[in-house]
């Protein structure tokens, strides 16, 4: 335990999941359509959580669907060097960035007022009835986009820093720094 690296190397529990994903992919490639259903069932909700925590407010199903469609079209290129879920997060994140760019262009054209965005947030907040969860949500919304992505992947999905770095496109060390900065910011917000 004195060596953090060795401690992280002994972090396990995901290898069985990875192995199961590889088996399902092989079955699907062999023509088993039910394997595709099981793959979606295993990862769809995690992808949806990541989308929502990253600020995606609407059309989450469409985003998850697009992620899987793109992934299944590119399955021949998946070599299993990272976990399948991490690979899915990478694809979803790219789609999210594309959406944000398109949304920004659209907003630049239509110049949506701040009141409209606030109305959408208020409607979603009403779903989250618990006051503590509303505060947690508000704390996460104060994070930078990268901090929010890293924090949600680490806390919400339990990814390692190495997996987060692959999904977000950064280094393992940078992912760790983003996580601890995010944690500090959340604590400070809750202490206010």
């Amino acid at each position: 335990m004195s060596d953090a690296t060795s401690a992280r190397a002994r972090v396990g529990g995901r290898s069985d999941d990875d192995q199961r994903d590889l088996e399902l992919i092989a079955r699907w490639k062999a023509g088993d359509e039910r394997a595709a259903t099981e793959i979606v069932e295993r990862h769809a909700q995690a992808l949806a959580r990541f989308a929502v925590s990253s600020g995606e407010r609407s059309e989450v199903d469409e985003l998850v669907q697009d992620t899987f469609v793109r992934a299944f079209h590119s399955l021949d290129g998946f070599r299993g060097e990272s976990s399948f879920r991490t690979w899915l997060f990478t694809i979803e994140r790219r789609l999210l960035l594309d959406r944000r760019r398109a949304e920004k262009r659209r907003r630049d054209r239509t110049e949506i007022q701040e009141d409209d965005a606030a109305t959408a947030y208020d409607a979603l907040d009403s779903v989250v009835a618990d006051e503590t969860q509303q505060r947690l949500r508000a704390a996460m919304e104060r994070l930078s986009p990268t901090q929010r992505e890293v924090f949600s992947l680490r806390v919400g999905e339990g990814l390692s820093y190495k997996e987060i770095a692959e999904a977000v496109g950064t280094t393992e060390g940078a992912a760790r720094v983003h996580y601890h900065n995010a944690m500090r910011a959340v604590k400070e917000f809750l202490d206010e």
Binding site: G12, D61, V69, S160
Partner: protein
């Protein structure tokens, strides 16, 4: 909310939350959390964030997602030959149509060429395309001059496969001269000395009468000039 001074332990709290730790490490981290109030508070915070993220996320319609996925590779592979067969059938039809067009067109072209190349025995009319030899010499220069080439072409074009000799007034004239020793369709180079002399004699004795009556013309008579030129010339 304070941070635990044991950064390594704090770093493993999310893994403890998601049960990603091997048993020995998990036991050690759990023991630390049991004695560290800051880590217990942080672990509770992490649990709250996880629940919040789960709660705020709508349930994904798995069937909706699966419905948009591509077919499995094996099924795609099994369907590709069918597509190729369909394309091959379509290509076969196109090839058959092209062959039919070529056959009809070729037959038509062959028939046209064949009808143009018919040689009628005893006829002095030559088809330019099928006869590379020089124009046959007609018996009488006046008669030759009265047979324009287009007329010969029209004559040849109007012939059918019956190969029936077509005789016109012009050909009757040629036939008349042929009786004096010049074979029909023969060139002047084929004549011997005797035949050539007979031909020249006939030409000398022939009256230069046109085969049709000339159009009446009016002539201006100019006393000062020795010749006259018809109007319009």
């Amino acid at each position: 909310m304070n941070d635990c001074p044991n950064a390594e332990m704090r770093d493993l709290l999310p893994d403890l939350l998601h049960e990603r730790l091997d048993a020995p490490i998990r036991a050690a981290v759990a023991a630390h959390v049991g004695t560290c109030e800051d880590c217990r508070a942080e672990l509770a915070l992490l649990g709250g964030v996880q629940r919040m993220l789960t709660k705020q996320t709508p349930r994904v319609d798995v069937a909706y997602v699966v419905g948009a996925l591509p077919l499995a590779s094996k099924q795609r592979a099994s369907k590709q030959p069918a597509a190729r067969v369909a394309r091959r059938r379509w290509a076969d039809w196109r090839v058959a149509a092209a062959v039919a067009v070529l056959a009809v067109g070729g037959t038509s072209a062959a028939l046209m060429e064949r009808s143009n190349a018919i040689v009628i025995p005893g006829d002095t009319v030559q088809v330019p395309q099928s006869n590379p030899t020089p124009e046959p010499v007609q018996a009488t220069p006046a008669i030759v001059a009265s047979q324009p080439a287009p007329a010969a072409d029209r004559l040849a074009a109007s012939r059918s496969d019956t190969r029936t000799p077509v005789r016109t007034a012009d050909t009757e004239q040629v036939a008349t001269t042929a009786n004096d020793g010049i074979g029909v369709g023969r060139s002047i180079g084929d004549l011997n000395q005797k035949q050539l002399r007979a031909l020249l004699d006939d030409i000398d004795n022939m009256q230069a009468v046109p085969i049709t009556e000339p159009e009446p013309v009016s002539l201006k008579v100019d006393a000062t000039r020795s010749s006259s030129v018809p109007e319009g010339m």
